[in-house]
């Protein structure tokens, strides 16, 4: 469940002891009937409990003065901002509005992803992260047609990600697929300071009765692909590399294809974008690890329209 879901406010009301009888009843119905909501509720409470433990071991900070100062500033901020806006507006109203309009108009440019629909059944899949663009890399996967009761989301084929069972003693149980994009052909004007890439992908599990966890990670590097992928894993941990990861949990009973997307702020000068897609086996040791499928990967550049041709 996404944290933008309005039902998180219901959780807050109950957590803070502010819920009415009706709201408590509504909470109970959601907890009973919606597994995704129930998991989100437990995660929220887990965080709440963890925060009380953290506060216990940390010395009480000089919060009050620091916060009070901050708060005074916050209290004045709207007035100050309004006053500054009026003064600024007297001199350059059109510039202010021009800036706002420019920020609001965002153009979405699809970027070329090699075999985005996983249709090239004959392709050679690289073992692990590929060192160049134009190739898929995988831990353990293959391009397959309809498989059991799973049919490709689009086209004739999809990628079957073999599960890495929990009981197997490996560092990471995530079954991954990789792709490297060469950004050097992008027009320089498109790489504005506010440019973002949006990555989306669709996943499907053979066992929709249990929850599945999918991951998407995008990493922007300022080196050409061949160089960027050398010593890649040690490089991604450095502060200079911009990276964003997102987990997506499906609720038990979510059958069929599920589509997810995430965005990454793309720093100007980025030359390579590495994409990693992963599926994590369920935590229930009693269930056999589910096979997951990947299809229809899309990557778009979101940039200010006015700066593009």
């Amino acid at each position: 469940m996404n944290t933008n879901d309005p039902r998180f406010e219901l959780i807050r009301l109950c957590r803070d002891g502010q819920a009415s009888i009706e709201e408590l009843a509504e909470l109970e119905v959601s907890l009973r009937e919606d597994a995704g909501f129930r998991e989100a509720y437990v995660r929220y409470m887990n965080l709440d409990v963890a925060l009380s433990s953290v506060a216990k071991v940390l010395p009480m900070p000089m919060v009050t003065s620091a916060l009070r100062q901050r708060n005074r500033w916050l209290a004045w901020r709207p007035l100050t901002a309004a006053a500054a806006g009026i003064v600024f507006g007297m001199f350059c109203t059109s510039m202010v509005f021009g800036f706002v309009a420019q920020r609001a108009a965002v153009k979405k440019i699809p970027l070329s992803v090699f075999d985005a629909g996983l249709e090239a059944v004959e392709q050679i899949l690289n073992d692990g992260l590929p060192s160049q663009a134009g190739q898929w890399g995988v831990d353990d996967a293959k391009v397959v047609p309809a498989d059991g009761n799973v049919t490709p989301l689009a086209g004739q084929y999809m990628l079957r990600l073999e599960p890495i069972p929990r009981e197997k003693e490996v560092k990471n149980h995530t079954s991954r697929a990789y792709q490297v994009l060469d950004l050097r052909s992008l027009p320089a004007a498109a790489m504005t300071a506010d440019a973002e890439v949006e990555v989306s992908a669709s996943f499907c599990a053979t066992d929709g009765d249990v929850s599945s966890r999918y991951l998407i990670r995008a990493i922007a590097l300022d080196e050409a692909p061949a160089q960027a992928t050398k010593n890649f894993w040690s490089k991604v941990e450095s502060d200079g590399v911009v990276s964003e990861s997102q987990r997506f949990d499906t609720a038990p009973g979510s059958h069929g294809w599920q589509s997810f997307s995430m965005t990454l702020r793309l720093p100007p000068g980025s030359k390579t974008l590495v994409l990693i897609f992963g599926a994590v086996p369920p935590e229930l040791p009693s269930r056999p690890a589910s096979v997951h499928y990947l299809d229809e990967v899309q990557v778009s550049l979101l940039s200010s329209e006015t700066l593009l041709p």
């Binding site: 009973r32 409990v49 925060l51 900070p61 916060l67 009070r68 005074r72 894993w233």
Partner: protein, 161 residues
């Protein structure tokens, strides 16, 4: 995650304030110490402890809570099942929380520490900060959601590395 942590999350999910959780956890601890059977295996202990927690929460809400609302049997079962099934995942999120707390802006981190300090009352803290209690509750809620998203990102990064 230790059983104690799981148990605490379970109790917290059944009750509606931290004070209630603390009181019930104390009662639960007393019962568990008094009636502990060393022959019990881990799974039996866990089942028994969750049952005790549930009874104590029920008793507390019935006798002490103002609204006396208590979840029904089915929700009790579903919540305990969810907590136990998600034990590893919840533990990982608690671990990732340290990283995420460091990423919070200073004022938000201080606020969290102040609000969660033992014995603190939100009304009093709000007065000290010159804010309304409601504004503080909502700010803390937003911070919690930010932290939830952050822990997901941290764990996703770990799982894809």
């Amino acid at each position: 995650m230790s059983h104690e942590d799981s148990l605490r999350v379970f109790v917290r999910s059944l009750l509606f304030t931290h004070d209630e959780e603390r009181e019930v956890m104390q009662e639960v601890a007393v019962v568990l110490w008094r009636k502990f059977d060393a022959d019990m295996d881990s799974e039996s202990f866990c089942r028994w402890a969750f049952g005790v927690a549930r009874m104590e929460a029920l008793t507390f809400r019935r006798d002490r809570a103002r609204d006396r609302h208590m979840f029904g049997e089915e929700v009790f079962e579903l919540l305990s099942k969810t907590v136990l099934e998600q034990e590893d995942s919840l533990e990982a999120e608690r671990r990732a929380l340290d990283t995420c707390l460091q990423k919070l802006p200073d004022d938000q981190r201080y606020l969290v520490q102040a609000a969660y300090a033992p014995g603190i009352k939100i009304d009093q803290l709000a007065t000290q900060l010159g804010r309304t209690a409601m504004a503080l509750y909502k700010t803390l809620h937003r911070i919690r959601l930010t932290l939830m998203n952050c822990t997901q990102r941290v764990l996703a990064t770990e799982e894809l590395t």
